[in-house]
């Protein structure tokens, strides 16, 4: 666990200069079984101190691989960051906006920092792999990964909240490959887990066996699956895809740095961008009275994290900011400035972004479609500042006369966010969260994605 001695180094800050100092450790463990072979058995860790200093609107940052209690290292990065900011400020003469003063305080560490040994990861992965190979010998292959990462930070800033925070998360990824009658391999892949260590989340690996059974049924159905008909279709998307939609299609376009570059959300505050059934929030740490998947209490600029309401009843209500974009646009920073590694600068990032659930039942959504698709699982997604998005769909089914039909082979869906959201006419009442993987934007970042099932119109790829 990191020491909190870095709080004492505030005495080295230059008076009147906006300064951030952060001590941080990231650890990651990976165990990967592929067809039963242990192809990866790795632990990585990085630890260091970074300082960021602002000079005439320009930032200097420096970092060093050092323990947070290394006074000389802290002084060195503060000096180097100051020099870097001066280098830039001496060469440019941009007009700039003063940042608003932050609220002073300190957020204590909640919970403990644990790092279970590698044996725990192998225990979980082997138990699940053994179950698959014994129960389903007809599969072509299988993959079982046990992965965890933990980020711990101690942050001290010139004018804001100091904080000691830790975010552990752990997942088991299961992939099954079956052969289709035409001789081509098909695959399904899912992640299970969330906030917490491998021991906390997977004390009993057999709890995942029913999920393996469900995945097996899905890969069998998919092996005899069909290709969807290419074009625009009425779709029911699952809560998992609803979360991906919230993050990729809408979330990125309302990050203030992308707004400044001309994203489709620029100038649309107060305007309708979705059906009245759609509301969307970037939750800081608590949603509906429970902890959000990956809580953020204080961001890396020392801003106390609050929820950011992005869409309310179909109307665009806000963007996500860091201190600088908030000052420039005359809006509030709510704790979205986040850095991944100790050496990284805070960027505007989402936290736990969700479309809010409605009042309909999933069964009613499916029953309402005469001819369309139910799309369940996504493998990846990408969006654009124009709002155009795409998700890879790895599990889906056709809907015929209100009932689920044949499974789909892998496909891709796409749309334009603010146009597609206006086609949403049914919103299910259950919120599904996922938090595995990373969001990519110069740096990786852990995020939570939440959504209910939605009925909407989408472009779907086919043959």
């Amino acid at each position: 666990m990191l020491k909190e001695t870095i709080y004492e180094y505030k005495k080295y800050f230059q008076e009147g200069v906006i300064t951030e100092l952060r001590s941080q450790q990231n650890t990651r463990r990976v165990v990967a079984l592929q067809a039963g072979q242990l192809v990866s058995n790795v632990r990585t860790a990085s630890e260091g101190i970074s300082a960021r200093v602002r000079n005439r609107g320009l930032w200097g940052l420096a970092s060093i691989a050092a323990d947070g209690s290394d006074t000389a290292a802290a002084q060195r990065v503060l000096r180097a960051a100051t020099d870097n900011a001066k280098f830039m400020a001496d060469r440019q003469n941009y007009p700039y906006t003063e940042l608003r003063p932050g609220i002073i305080g300190r957020h204590p560490l909640i919970g403990t920092v644990l790092d279970p040994i590698q044996d725990e990861y192998l225990r979980v992965a082997r138990a699940i792999d053994a179950y698959i190979v014994e129960k389903y010998p007809d599969l072509v292959s299988r993959m079982v990964y046990a992965i965890a990462d933990t980020v711990e930070k101690v942050i001290t800033v010139s004018d804001g909240y100091d904080a000691h925070v830790v975010t552990p998360r752990s997942y088991v990824y299961i992939g099954l490959i079956a052969m289709s009658p035409d001789g081509s391999p098909v695959e399904v892949f899912r992640a299970f887990g969330g906030r917490g260590t491998i021991v906390e989340n997977f004390a009993d690996p057999s709890a995942l066996f029913p999920e393996v059974d469900r995945l097996y049924e899905a890969v069998r159905a998919k092996s005899e699956g069909i290709y969807p008909e290419a074009g625009r279709a009425t779709c029911v998307i699952s809560g998992e895809l609803g979360g991906m939609l919230a993050h990729e299609a809408v979330g990125h376009t309302v990050e203030a740095d992308l707004v400044a570059s001309g994203s489709v959300a620029a100038g649309k505050i107060g305007q309708p961008v979705a059906s009245e059934l759609v509301s969307m929030v970037d939750f800081a740490h608590t949603a509906y009275g429970s902890p959000a998947p990956l809580p953020v209490y204080v961001d890396d600029e020392g801003v106390v994290a609050e929820d950011a309401v992005l869409i309310r009843d179909g109307i665009l209500t806000g963007y996500m900011h860091n201190r600088e974009s908030a000052a420039k646009m005359g809006m509030e920073a709510r704790g979205n400035a986040r850095a991944w590694d100790f050496s990284d600068e805070p960027l505007i990032r989402m936290r736990n972004t969700a479309i809010l659930p409605g009042k309909d039942k999933l069964d009613d959504l499916i029953a309402s479609v005469d001819n369309g698709y139910y799309l369940v699982t996504t493998g990846n997604g990408q969006a654009d500042m124009t709002g155009e998005f795409m998700f890879g769909v790895t599990e889906g089914y056709e809907i015929k006369k209100g009932k689920l039909g044949r499974a789909l082979r892998d496909t891709t869906i796409s749309g334009v966010a603010f146009e597609m959201l206006k086609t949403v006419d049914m919103v299910a009442d259950e919120l599904t969260w996922v938090s595995s993987g990373f969001c990519g934007k110069k740096q990786p970042m852990t995020v939570g994605l939440g959504g209910p099932a939605l009925r909407c119109k989408l472009m779907i790829g086919g043959r």
Binding site: S40, L58, I64, G231, E345, D410, T412
Partner: protein, 451 residues
């Protein structure tokens, strides 16, 4: 103390630490082991929304340990290199190895002796680098006034390292390079194009950045991507992939058909095709980190083999699977001389303009945004930053256009490969034109809601 003496001392310090790490592993019971110690300094100048925003300096160290104890293998990497940290990291590595099951396929390469490798730009020229970045932004503003550089990251990295193996191999390296990566879009009358991104890696500052890689072509293209039209059809057509888009497809082709994963699990549709024709005879694909056009390419594999360039597909014939030493032993096949994705595709003899002129109906794809292709090579996704080709001419920028096809089939349906190539310091690729791609757009598939 002179600079030279300081450098010698640092080199000696890194060498000593790497041997200390190796000794800790072997003394702890590893019968095969590797330790790599590296010191790096990275300077990065950032631009946001067209303006300089941040200057970042990173001093980092790496201690990378690998231990094999009776066939049980563990890898642990840390960025702390103090003596106590080395002891802790070595112990952690031995513990991770101990947790594994024995697997005799984990083996190190035979001893290649002691070697020293120096490559790239070894001195950081801060003012000259900054001036080149200013020149780049000024050129973009002058030539492409509608373009917004939403993000630019200009970086100089220098790393001094020593890798030592229990076999006796010792490789000391010093490598430095510059890189420039941009994300950009164009805005007219408040309407934005899609974003695109590109970059280069270089070992010198002699040439303006705008003249390197795909910068000029991509920036020019984006100015014509603000006004777009939706594709209104579903049709099988031709597709030209730019070098950047071609690269993303090559990643999928290698990963799905000839890399470690599909061959270890047996799902590769090419697993029995070695020595057979899998692509158009005009296609030769090399993995070439030692090519002179690749900047600071890898020198040594993880197991300690010297990296060598080779063709995995030559004149359309599958010559070599891209297999690590481990995967080769597991599958009873030959180890690839490297597994680095420094792709070099032999250019064709048709100018790009003639490739375009030969297409009646098709699409020029700058970027593919799609789901991961299926194991059988099926893919579908959105054609981004792309243009319609009609009657031999590029006519309009497209939006909401999906493309789908099959990676293996695509390689058999090559119309032509351009004589022009783009080198960006990581790879050297031409444009490639293929047939048999399904384009689909706006028209409704049969679907409706129930009352």
């Amino acid at each position: 103390m002179t600079e030279r003496r300081k450098t010698e001392q640092l080199t000696e310090q890194i060498r000593n630490k790497s041997h200390t790490g190796l000794d800790l592993l072997t003394a702890g019971g590893a019968d095969q082991a590797r330790c790599r110690i590296a010191y790096s300094e990275t300077n990065e100048i950032n631009v946001e929304d067209g303006k300089f925003s941040l200057y970042r300096t990173m001093f980092d160290t790496t201690a990378a340990f690998m231990a094999i104890c009776g066939g049980r293998r563990g890898i642990v990497q840390s960025n702390q290199v103090g003596d106590e940290h080395l002891r802790a990291t070595a112990a952690e590595c031995l513990g991770v190895a101990e947790s594994a099951a024995p697997d005799e396929a984990w083996q190190l390469a035979p001893d290649i002796g002691a070697r020293t490798v120096t490559t790239g730009a070894l001195e950081y020229e801060e003012d000259r680098f900054y001036a080149r970045l200013v020149e780049f932004l000024d050129t973009v503003a002058e030539r492409y006034p509608t373009v917004v550089i939403s993000a630019l990251s200009g970086m100089y990295t220098r790393e001094r390292a020593c890798s030592v193996y229990s076999t006796g191999t010792q490789v000391e390296s010093l490598a430095g390079y510059y890189s420039v990566d941009i994300t950009f879009n164009a805005v007219e009358d408040g309407v934005s194009s899609s974003f695109n991104y590109t970059g280069i890696k270089t070992d010198n500052l002699d040439t303006p950045f705008i003249e390197q890689g795909s910068f000029a072509a991509n920036l020019s293209d984006i100015t014509r991507e603000v006004r777009t039209e939706a594709y209104k059809n579903t049709r099988v057509a031709a597709m030209i992939l730019t070098p950047t888009a071609f690269e993303s497809f090559l990643y999928d082709i290698v990963g799905n058909f000839i890399g470690d994963t599909p061959l270890i699990d047996g799902s590769s549709i090419w697993k029995d095709r070695l020595g057979e024709t899998v692509a158009d005879p005009r296609l030769t694909l090399r993995l070439a980190p030692r090519d002179e056009r690749v900047v600071a390419g890898r020198y040594l594999t993880a197991e300690g083999y010297l990296v060598e360039d080779y063709a995995c597909i030559e004149d359309g014939v599958l010559k070599q699977f891209v297999l690590s030493d481990y995967a080769a032993r597991k599958t009873g096949r030959d180890r690839a001389p490297n597994t680095e994705y420094n792709f070099i595709v032999t250019p064709g003899d048709i100018p790009l303009a003639d490739l375009i002129a030969g297409i009646d109906h098709g699409i020029l794809v700058n970027r593919f945004s799609g789901g991961s292709p299926s194991r059988n090579g099926d893919f579908s996704g959105v054609a981004k930053n792309s243009f319609l080709i009609e009657n031999g001419k590029i006519t309009t920028a497209l939006r909401e256009t999906m493309i789908s096809g099959n990676l293996a089939a695509m390689l058999k349906e090559v119309r032509g490969i351009s004589s022009e190539t783009v080198a960006d310091g990581n790879r050297v690729l031409p444009w490639i034109a293929v047939d048999g791609i399904t384009l689909s757009g706006e028209q409704a598939a049969p679907s409706e809601e129930r009352p």
